[in-house]
């Protein structure tokens, strides 16, 4: 019974990791860009939510109505004015520029909000639980977070494979030159992909902020969790990424249950094991 609880908690946290990973996976799929500032953008959206909830006096979940469009706008502008100029054959410019962004965001947050850790207050929902069966309980908030994660991945899947925008994403990913011949503006498509990625980042950031304390230095660890979920799940598959997130969450929960110092380490070891045994990931998308 104890282990069922541990694994269940791991699965629920894994939903959050899947959201960290989905945005990362999306922009890599469309434009072969790995955004090193991804984790810092998650933390940035947590702070934006903090400021909004404090100044407007609204709840964290309501604040999503403002944080998501705001982050999407930031994403569009970031891609349009900065990151589009780094794309090309050479992989160093995008890496270095997003690395620089990461340092700038981290230190900017440190200047504005100090290194003290803070948390978003969601009210009574934070401590409410539902009894599933026997001695197994789930928190309402982790459950909501998990359902939102499923909805986000499902939504991205729908956008990618069932809409005109998704067709444009896939066309540009397959062959940017031909996509351009079909009257698609690659710069605009890339900017939209980054906007969508940061919209997901905003949702993940708000849930991160409600779930636990956060501070400006937490970004890189979120990037690494997201990255591990992507690789464990297998490149190019959104539901694979989701499964990767769950597996990472479970591995961390088991590690933490054995020894509190092993939580993060257990996640990394699960990642390295997958890399050693099945480097293509658990559910790779078959590509011809």
């Amino acid at each position: 019974m104890e282990w069922i609880n541990v694994i269940l908690q791991g699965v629920l946290v894994g939903g959050l990791y899947a959201m960290f990973a989905a945005g990362l996976s999306l922009i890599f799929g469309v434009m072969r860009l790995v955004n090193i500032a991804h984790g810092d953008l998650i933390v940035l959206s947590a702070y934006i939510a903090l400021v909004i909830t404090q100044t407007l006096g609204i709840g964290p979940l309501t604040s999503l109505l403002i944080v998501v469009p705001a982050m999407a706008g930031i994403g569009y502008a970031l891609q349009w004015f900065l990151l589009n100029r780094t794309l090309g054959e050479d992989l160093l410019p995008p890496l270095l520029v997003t690395f620089g962004l990461s340092v700038i965001i981290q230190n900017g947050l440190l200047t504005a909000f100090t290194a003290d850790s803070v948390k978003l207050q969601a009210g009574p929902i934070e401590v409410e639980t539902i009894r599933l069966f026997g001695g197994v309980y789930v928190g309402v908030l982790p459950l909501v977070q998990f359902i939102v994660a499923v909805a986000v991945i499902g939504g991205l899947q729908f956008v990618f494979y069932r809409t005109a925008l998704g067709r444009a994403f896939r066309a540009t990913a397959d062959d940017p030159a031909v996509a351009q011949l079909m009257a698609l503006d690659n710069r605009h498509i890339f900017a939209l992909a980054m906007a969508l990625s940061l919209a997901v980042v905003a949702i993940a950031g708000v849930f991160l902020a409600v779930r636990a304390n956060f501070d400006p230095s937490q970004g890189p660890a979120r990037l690494i969790f997201g990255f591990e979920a992507v690789i464990i799940g297998g490149l190019g598959s959104l539901w694979g990424t989701f499964a990767g997130g769950l597996l990472l969450g479970v591995a961390q929960a088991i590690g933490a249950h054995l020894n509190p110092g092993w939580q993060i380490l257990a996640g990394h070891i699960a990642f390295l094991l997958v890399l050693a045994v099945r480097p293509q990931g658990l559910f790779p998308k078959v590509r011809t």
Partner: protein, 343 residues
């Protein structure tokens, strides 16, 4: 008519040799003209030039963009502390042993991270460094998460007086830097260097010409780990104190090193030297600004990457055509008969 390949810039080479000898002499004599603080600052500069040169070899020549070299800085430092504290090995011996140990670890790490390509390789190396940091914080004989200090007797055994120790550590730092630069220079002038440049310019063309691309890259990765660990061991021998967060710091040992290399000029041996000078000049004047200084550094690096991707030294080379280290090959045609000038 016959042709032969020579290393370019003969005049530059002479200037480089003479200038290099003068600079090296002056630096080796620094204990005569500098105070204790000067020696400490110079040692730190040497360490950063060495780290940045090694990263430059990895990223600029072998195309392996790693953001996890702090793994080897920390590993080298921890090997030195473990040997000195637990086994009573002299730190002077521990430095080369740390390098060899790191090379051994790098073989195992390479077998994992080389499964990842490009950007994913970068983040994969970072995760390896995080694993090392988390393992180090579980090592209770070395102080666990809060770290430990080198015992006084280990330090005293190094040299009898504080001044002698300062001089000794300074000269080791300088010798290590010279060794790292000489290694890179010899490597790049050898056939491996030619292979590396071919890989940098086009992996496909390099493979077609019979170069084993993966093998060459793995060898560079291991050699870089060896050098980085020795520098790391020396840095923490000078600091006398180690902790997992300091030894495996991504900011200190990777962010700064990457910024230095890119600002100075990636893919050129002079780049990291120029970059380190700029970095320290900025730090000595602006460090009081704290976080603002780091944000400015990030902005400068982004600006340089977008506006002048070859860095400061790249701009100088384009404008004046100089190079201090003779690395570029040039074909020279020699007329057998006493005929008109070929040019």
């Amino acid at each position: 008519m016959s042709a032969r390949v020579v290393f370019a810039s003969r005049a530059g080479r002479r200037i480089g040799l003479v200038g290099g000898a003068i600079v090296l002499g002056a630096l080796a004599a620094a204990p005569l003209w500098g105070g204790r603080d000067d020696l400490a600052l110079l040692s730190e500069i040497y360490a950063y030039v060495a780290l940045a040169s090694l990263w430059n070899l990895l990223a600029g020549y072998a195309g392996l963009v790693s953001v996890g070299q702090q793994a080897y800085v920390g590993l080298g430092a921890y090997v030195l502390f473990a040997l000195a504290i637990l086994a009573g090995v002299s730190p002077l011996w521990a430095i080369p042993i740390a390098g060899i140990a790191a090379a051994g670890v790098a073989v195992a790490v390479a077998s994992l991270v080389f499964r990842l390509r490009g950007h994913y390789f970068a983040i994969g190396t970072w995760i390896v460094a995080e694993v090392f940091r988390l393992i180090a914080s579980q090592l209770s004989p070395l102080g666990g998460g809060s770290g430990t200090s080198l015992p006084a007797d280990v330090i005293i055994a190094l040299a009898p007086s504080r001044q002698a120790r300062d001089f000794l550590q300074y000269w080791i730092a300088l010798a290590l830097l010279v060794a790292v630069l000489a290694f890179i220079l010899i490597l790049l002038r050898s056939r491996y260097g030619l292979a590396l440049k071919a890989i940098r310019d086009s992996e496909l063309a390099a493979t077609c010409n019979g170069i084993d691309v993966t093998r060459t890259k793995v060898l560079v990765y291991i050699a870089t780990a060896l050098g980085t660990a020795m520098v790391g061991a020396l840095i923490f021998l000078q600091r006398l104190r180690i902790s997992p967060d300091a030894a495996f710091s991504v900011n200190d040992w990777t962010a700064f090193v990457i910024f230095i290399t890119v600002i100075g000029g990636i893919g050129r041996i002079e780049g990291p030297i120029v970059g380190t000078v700029v970095f320290f000049a900025l730090r000595q004047t602006l460090a009081d600004l704290g976080t603002l200084y780091l944000m400015m550094l990030g902005l400068v690096a982004i600006g340089i990457m977008l506006a002048a991707p070859k860095g400061i030294w790249g701009l100088i080379v384009e404008r004046f055509g100089v190079s201090v280290f003779p690395l570029e090959r040039r074909v020279v045609f020699e007329e057998r008969k006493p005929a008109a000038e070929s040019r």
